[in-house]
Every structure is written in C-alpha cells, then in structure tokens.
Amino acid sequence: MRKFLSAFVVFWLIWSVLSGFRMQDVLIGAVVSLVLSFVVSRYLSFSFDFRIFYKVFLFIVIYIPVFLYRMVLANLDMARRVLSPSIPLNPGFVKVKTKIKSKTGKLTLANSITLTPGTMSVEVDEETIYVHWVDVQGEEKEEYSKEISGSFENILGGIFR
Amino acid sequence: MMDILVFFLTGFGALFSILRIILGPSVADRAAALDTMNVIITGLIVFLAHVFESSLYLDIAIIYGVLAFLETVVFSRYLEVDPK
C-alpha cells in the first residue's frame, strides 16, 4: 500500500510538471497515474514516508552547495589539464572504502565521486568503490579515502544512514 | 550576436566528438564520444527552444535524453562481452 501511494505521488508530480498546471490536465494525470501505479507498484522496490521532506530539505541545504563548489573546481582542474600543451597525467585504479549502507546513498556517493576533481567511479560492491584517478598521489589506502570521498562521506552518511 | 557565439562554441564541442567517433581506435572510444555528443545535442535542443521561442523543444529534449541514456547502457552491456 505504501509503495502504491509513493508511486502514485511520483507519477502525478512528473505528469503535472510535464503538462502544465491546468485543471483538466491535472485530473487526467490523476486518473492515468492511478491506473499506472496500480499496474506497476508490485515491481517497484522503493517507498517513502513523511521523513522524506526532512531528508530532501537537508539534502538541498547541505549537500547541493558543497557539490556545486567541488564540481566547479573539478571543471577548472580538467580545463587546466586539457588546455596545457603536454597533458599532465598519472592515471591509476584505486579502492575506496565506504560505510554507507543504503542503495540511494551509494548511488549518490558514486555520482559525486565521478563529478569531483580527477576521479571517476568504475565499480561498486558491498563496502568498497573502485575509482579511476587521473593523478594518483600517495601510497596508502586511508589517504585515498580521505582525499577522494571524505567530505561527501560525512554529509551523505548523515542524511541517508 | 550572442546566439551565434553560443552556437559556435557548442558546434566546436560536437565537431571534436564526431572527429573522435571517426578516428577512435577502439569501440569503447567511439561509444564514449557518442555519449558526450548526445549530451551536447540535448543542450543544443534546449537552446533551440530559446531561439525559436517554442516550449515544444523541451519535450523533445527530455525524450532525447532518455533515449541517449538507454543507448549508452545498451552499448556498454554489448561491449562487456569478451570479443574472443
């Protein structure tokens, strides 16, 4: 039942944003998303309750500014590498440990790693993320984790558990 | 004037991705360049919505983005099989 309600709300919101907020569009969207969520809700694996508002608020206020700042830094770094005449590279694959359990948290962490300076996540399993790094520095694994995912790990661990 | 500059820069990016598609030594290079070119074209369609003053192009951009993502995932599933 909770899955059904979550799917209904998500479908209805997407329909309304895509088709505009006139009366007849919103009503047709309600009917269509009722039928669709009745069909689909058995196969879904997500559901949410009222804490979602709190989580989304935290996500927008705390996570998004840090993310945008790191992303602009990443792009300036990448522009410097691309535009310099001989490209400075020292690529390698490294492992990064993570403590986040939930699937959404892991997806967000992997996406953040991909969009921050010089790193790209390649493979995710239970508690490690495998990362391709353009410019490997240092030798120890703890250094890697701190360097690559430290700040995001703390923020996302607070939000997603 | 500004529109022409934006078109020029975007087309510059798309041109180099197409060069990489033609030159790329392996299939993975071509798939990566195709992914980049698809994202650039999605942005270009949204910019066309501004130039032609019509919000229909936004729907086209959404559908193009969904199809580009599916295309990349299908290509990479195909690449995973060892060619030997």
Binding site: M78, L83, G92, V94, V122 | T10, H50, S76
Partner: protein, 109 residues
C-alpha cells in the same frame, strides 16, 4: 536578468567546447570519459539554467531536465568505464588495484 542568462549560456557553451576538446586530446578511454563527463555535465547545468533565466515560465521543466541529466550522465559514463575495463581496452594506466575483483568472475549480474 537577460545579462545573467546570457552569461550562463556562454559559460555552458564554452564548457561544451572544452568537453569536446578533452574528448579529442586525452590519450586513452578512461581519461577521455573523465574529461567528457565532467565538462558536459557542468555545461548542461549552466546552459539549461541560462535558458531558464531567459524564460522564467519554463523553469520547472528545465529543472526536471537538469536533475535527470545530472543523475544519468555519471551513471552512463561509469557503466561505459566498467565495460571498457572488462573488455580489456588498452590503457596507459600505471597502477591497478582492481585486478582482484574483475579478473575472476565475469558476468554475474
């Protein structure tokens, strides 16, 4: 408003150009993916935000496109990198901690 919109449009378009140039100049697949993904994601956010500034009545739809692209673009580049690794594409990589995982069992999911 118009000036800010055109500023974001120009920034986004120049990041697109940088992404294409990085895709052309970098030496192997993984570095190409890095340059392409980062530059085009920030370029898309900036250019779409610029169009939303010029036409404030489209802002909701444009935010939807931005959220969608910001989620799917890193995922697709990550799957491409994983499959390029599994297909053993030639690289210039010097250090490889990943051998433990990916040489054993190939496709189990």
């Amino acid at each position: 408003m118009t000036i800010i919109g055109y500023f974001f449009l120009l920034v986004g378009a120049s990041f697109y150009a940088l992404g294409g140039l990085g895709m052309f100049r970098m030496p192997d697949v993984f570095n190409r993916l890095q340059a392409g993904t980062k530059a085009t994601t920030l370029g898309t956010i900036s250019l779409l935000f610029g169009v939303g500034m010029l036409h404030p009545e489209w802002m909701l739809k444009i935010l939807l496109i931005i959220v969608f692209l910001t989620i799917t673009n890193p995922v697709s580049s990550s799957t491409l990198a994983r499959s390029a690794y599994l297909a053993k594409v030639k690289t210039k990589t010097k250090k490889d901690d990943l051998k433990l995982l990916l040489n054993g069992d190939d496709d189990d999911d």
